[in-house]
Symmetry: C2
Subunit: 227 residues, 2 copies
């Protein structure tokens, strides 16, 4: 795969019926991408499509599919599922994502101590994804720190997105999608760095609890902000 | 040890002859704390004291000592040393820090790939410190993301400080010292979360390189900023 020559038109969002997935679908559809919402259950995917079209209007290209169908159809595959099904989902998706950029939005929260960083044996959810999918897919991690409450509208978000991944070209493509979603993204380096970004979600949940808020986030400082 | 009843007057800064250590000493001395600069070599510590008094004036209580002497004298012990000597320093300090709060500023950077997160077997530098010092010392980690260039003056810093540590009372004391240094600090949870903050330094160094700056930092958003 040569990430530099990939043109992204169709974005598959697996686990796209959840709040995070719908929020990303909303923003990317508005930015002109074709969206395929994937779910275990095609009917659930169709319900999410119906909801999104209700908000956005029927002119937008959003379709529903099973997760494997969605993965096959997408130029890029985005996965947003609870960590409890992370491994299982990845194993079932492996045949369908070869040669693709795979954006993992998962955060390895382990209840009940979700404010304590607890990474899987691979080092992070993103590294676990790369281990399972193999070298043929390029795993990138992103969007783990964004509160889903703030995606399904057009408000400016106060939280930056840190993008980690194997290979600069794959990170650049993910950063394009971050920008298309109306967010500010930063190249946070190799996939090994994903532990920082995933773990930051536990820190932010802890701060939400301490301060009784829902939207603690982070911003990179000391660098002129990109437009 | 009962961290809630500890009153901090004397701060020992081990490895205090480095830029980070001197910067913290400068800010805490101005805030009214007695400072003991520790070094392997008492003469080097005295040189740092001389430099600091040259900037601050002779009325400030700053003295030099060997690291063990400094550790014994401090109400709280702060260590800022290169990661290469982290383990060895901790082992030599163990007899002198029992019952104290030990603030570890170390970042496990492993050259040449300092932009890639590479944690020690314990999980993070702070967890390694706790393992070596044992349960009798309370390890807190803080200040790992602050560029030392910005400490040795009175400018407002754009980078927040995330404080991790065993026990809320110990974190609260560290947060007091963060505030005394003129910085905004946040309780980032248990010591296990230190991997996030330590690893963030690698991400920030990567951003510094990408953008040709020296002071990439982070700020917590979505919560009213403390005064």
């Amino acid at each position: 795969m040569d990430a530099e020559n990939i043109v992204i038109k169709k974005i598959a969002i697996l686990g796209g019926t959840g709040k995070e997935g719908k929020g990303l679908a909303y923003r990317w559809a508005k930015a002109g991408y074709q969206i395929i919402i994937g779910s275990r259950n095609k009917e659930k995917a169709d319900v999410a499509v119906f909801e999104l079209k209700g908000i956005l209007g029927n002119q937008f290209e959003i379709t529903g599919a099973t997760n494997p169908e969605a993965a096959q159809a997408g130029d890029v595959v985005v996965m947003t599922v609870p960590f409890g099904v992370h491994k299982e989902m990845l194993e079932s998706l492996k045949p369908y994502v070869a040669g693709k950029i795979f954006i993992d939005v998962s955060v390895p929260l382990v209840p009940p101590k979700v404010t304590k960083v607890q990474m899987p044996a691979a080092g992070s959810a993103a590294q676990e994804a790369q281990q399972i999918l193999g070298e043929n897919a390029q795993v990138v991690s992103a969007f783990q720190n964004i509160s889903y409450e703030h995606l399904l509208n057009d408000k400016e978000l106060e939280c930056d997105v840190l993008v980690c991944g194997s290979g600069k070209p794959a990170r650049m493509i993910a950063l394009e999608l971050v920008k298309a979603a109306g967010l500010v993204g930063w190249d946070a380096g190799p996939l090994e760095n994903s532990v920082v970004v995933e773990g930051l979600t536990s820190v932010l949940i802890g701060l939400n609890k301490q301060f009784g808020v829902q939207a603690a986030g982070i911003r990179i400082t000391g660098i002129p902000r990109p437009k």
